[in-house]
């Protein structure tokens, strides 16, 4: 089995090529790294190509869009075309596009008339705050429950949590968000309805932080509720894979308590394959954050993406498309690199 080793779903991660002598790890790693970084580079190039394809070729002439509000003379149109580089041959445009992207010159937003790079930098912290917090909570919650669920497979705890997770996973994120807002913000008035800040907050760091935290609760709640189930199932199945193992019998024979056997022996073994899977699930994290930001009007990149749809602010859409896609590709690369360090320890025996 010598074909592609790009691990895309957990079940198909293939171990690094066999035949490595025991002690000489570094050269093997070098080759492994090169292979996967190369693969990621190709994927990234493909992303750039497809974004060019989608937003320039399919989308058509942007000049019409830019000038839809005001009448322009043919000379002005020609000037605009030259300015945007649209008078160049297609392949030249593509090269310019790639070089531009690689140098962080992402163009200007139609809507805001500002460099897209600046827009991204402004909104990135908000997205990281929401997605980061949500993901951390979802991972912690999912792993905690998943461990105990898998350990006591078939128990009421297990069945209950799997059912709950399945239920929440089946709910559309945006709908859950709306319901959460309805109940907690509108009916109960406990939390703000949307946004990240209230304008009336005093400007000092502490008040600002509390205000943001206050606004963070409902979005994170929604986000975590939908996402945690996936991590739960991953961890649960990893623990289930460990359950019949002999080393657990040894641990029990030594006199450890059941929870000690689980936490000190089973979990570390189960955690190893799970960690890489977390990286591979980044795609759904991105999807979830876009919808959550839209529902809660959270001023992040996801909301920017959605807002740009209807203008349509093509440069922004294009830049964010590349950004989001690249992040998932890099996440997969991280998973592959991590896997090198994790896998040989277990499998090489």
């Amino acid at each position: 089995m010598t074909d592609s080793s790009s691990p895309v779903d957990g079940a198909s991660i293939e171990a690094p090529s066999a035949g490595r002598p025991g002690g000489r790890v570094s050269s093997g790693f070098g080759r492994y790294l090169l292979k996967h970084v190369g693969g990621a580079a190709v994927s990234l190039l493909l992303v750039l190509f497809s974004s060019f394809f989608i937003f320039r070729l399919i989308a058509g002439d942007p000049i019409d869009q830019l000038t839809k509000e005001r009448p322009v003379s043919p000379e002005q149109r020609a000037a605009m075309r030259a300015e945007l580089g649209l008078d160049q041959p297609l392949w030249q445009q593509f090269i310019d596009y790639i070089t531009g992207t690689l140098t962080m010159d992402l163009g200007e937003s139609f809507q805001y008339r500002r460099p897209i790079f600046d827009l991204i930098v402004e909104r990135l912290p908000a997205t990281l705050l929401l997605s980061g917090t949500g993901m951390v909570l979802a991972v912690l919650l999912g792993f905690w429950i998943g461990t105990r669920s898998g350990w006591k497979q078939g128990s009421r705890y297990d069945k209950g949590h799997v059912a709950t997770g399945l239920l929440l996973y089946s709910a559309p994120t945006f709908w859950l968000g709306m319901i959460v807002i309805l109940v907690f913000a509108r009916y109960m008035g406990l939390f703000p309805v949307n946004g990240m800040r209230s304008p009336s907050t005093p400007p000092d760091f502490w008040s600002q932080s509390v205000d943001i935290g206050y606004h963070l609760v409902l979005p994170v709640l929604t986000y975590t509720a939908v996402v945690y189930a996936g991590y739960l199932m991953i961890m649960r199945s990893s623990i289930l894979d460990e359950i019949g193992s002999d080393y657990l019998t040894t641990a029990r024979a030594k006199g450890l308590r059941d929870d000690e056997v689980r936490d000190k022996h089973a979990v570390p073994n189960a955690l190893l394959p799970t960690v890489t899977l977390v990286f591979l699930a980044l795609g759904s994290v991105v999807n979830g954050s876009i919808v959550t930001e839209a529902v809660f009007s959270w001023p992040g990149l996801g909301r920017l993406f959605v807002q740009s749809i209807f203008y349509p602010d093509r440069p922004v859409l294009q830049a964010l498309f590349v950004l989001f896609s690249s992040s998932t590709i890099l996440a997969v690369l991280c998973a592959e690199i991590l896997y090198w360090f994790i896998d040989p320890r277990i499998r090489r025996s």
């Binding site: 193992s245 002999d246 080393y247 019998t249 040894t250 641990a251 029990r252 024979a253 030594k254 006199g255 450890l256 308590r257 022996h265 570390p268 073994n269 190893l272 320890r345 277990i346 090489r348 025996s349």
Partner: protein
């Protein structure tokens, strides 16, 4: 006082196929400082017997009877007391140490773990003791920081032995401890075990399907078939001069290297072990037995003392000979042509 005693032990598994009896009434005694080997094919219940001692059987197993360790019934103990007794009163050397050791913990940590669990000591002191244990089994102290997959099969088995000694137990159970090893390594490990047993005066229960291994290490042997003990006596005698057709076949299956007659003796036994859910009437060995008589189909023989033809009297060895075979109990030969 007897170190370990099984009293009318029954173990039944309940599964999708119904109730499967794995151990059907075993009585056995192990004295301190003595070694007893338990032999039999897979499925005869010997591993179940071993796991039952420390109550390591799955929840689907029903256990009845008594297992007395220094007079205390292990089956009746509360969990707290049981956990305290585990590894300190009796420990187990498992087979296939690749999977019996935790792949992500270092060796030193795994050997020191029971010490830290059962005694009030510092990690540093426990590590020192672990190091000493490893050295006693012939592994250099550098192995403390290795992971299981970095060791060979024989080295891992030595680690298992070192680990089993960590809390100075009075009883060690070796469950197929040398089965997965090649012959040379097996010999080394057996020698190590014998030495340790003599040195520390522990009781040893050695489980194997290889009678020749048992005869070289153990004082006494018990042969199990279909969940029962079918023969018992001094190990060497059970091996060389079996008083049950099954033990004879088991012994013959492993020819002694260097014995010219062994090459000509037909080894092996026809047929398969009986399905525990559908045991034959009478003696469970009857379908595969070459010397069965009519009585064997009617009644299941009990384990009773048997007279031994032409060998030293019982008094000389000190251990009684018993066999669950009507033919043997009559004093007749259990093997055709002998």
């Amino acid at each position: 006082m007897t170190l370990l005693e099984f009293k009318d032990l029954h173990v039944t598994y309940t599964g999708s196929r119904g109730r499967i009896p794995a151990v059907r009434g075993v009585d056995l005694k192990v004295e301190a400082g003595r070694t007893i080997g338990i032999a039999g094919e897979s499925g005869c219940g010997k591993s179940t017997l071993a796991m039952a001692v420390l109550r390591l059987l799955p929840k689907t197993a029903e256990v009845s009877g008594q297992i007395l360790l220094n007079g205390e019934d292990l089956l009746q103990m509360g969990w707290g007391r049981l956990r305290a007794v585990r590894w300190t009163g009796a420990s187990i050397v498992f087979q296939g140490a690749m999977h019996s050791l935790n792949a992500v913990h270092r060796i030193g940590r795994q050997v020191a773990e029971p010490i830290l669990l059962h005694e009030k000591t510092t990690p540093a002191a426990a590590a020192k003791r672990a190091e000493a244990l490893l050295e006693r089994v012939g592994l250099p102290a550098s192995r403390m920081r290795s992971y299981p997959h970095e060791l060979s099969g024989g080295q891992r088995q030595r680690v298992m032995i070192a680990m089993a000694l960590a809390c100075d137990p009075e009883l060690i159970i070796a469950d197929e401890a040398t089965t997965a090893l090649d012959v040379m390594v097996q010999a080394q490990v057996l020698q190590l075990i014998s030495g340790l047993v003599t040195e520390r005066g522990v009781g040893l229960v050695m489980i194997s399907h290889d009678l020749s291994v048992l005869s070289s290490v153990c004082d006494e042997a018990a042969v199990m078939y279909a969940g029962r003990v079918v023969e018992q006596g001094p190990a060497h005698e059970v091996f060389a001069n079996a008083r049950h057709p099954y033990s004879a076949a088991l012994g013959a299956a492993f020819p002694v290297i260097g014995d010219p007659a062994a090459r000509k003796r037909p080894g092996g036994l026809a047929g398969d072990p009986p399905d525990p859910v559908r045991l034959p009437d009478g003696c469970s060995f009857r379908p595969r037995c070459a010397v069965a008589v009519e009585h064997c189909a009617e009644e299941s023989p009990l384990l009773l003392p048997v007279p031994i033809r032409g060998s030293a009297s019982v008094a000389a060895g000190g251990t009684a000979r018993s066999s669950a075979c009507f033919v043997a109990q009559e004093g007749e030969p259990v093997v055709v042509g002998r």
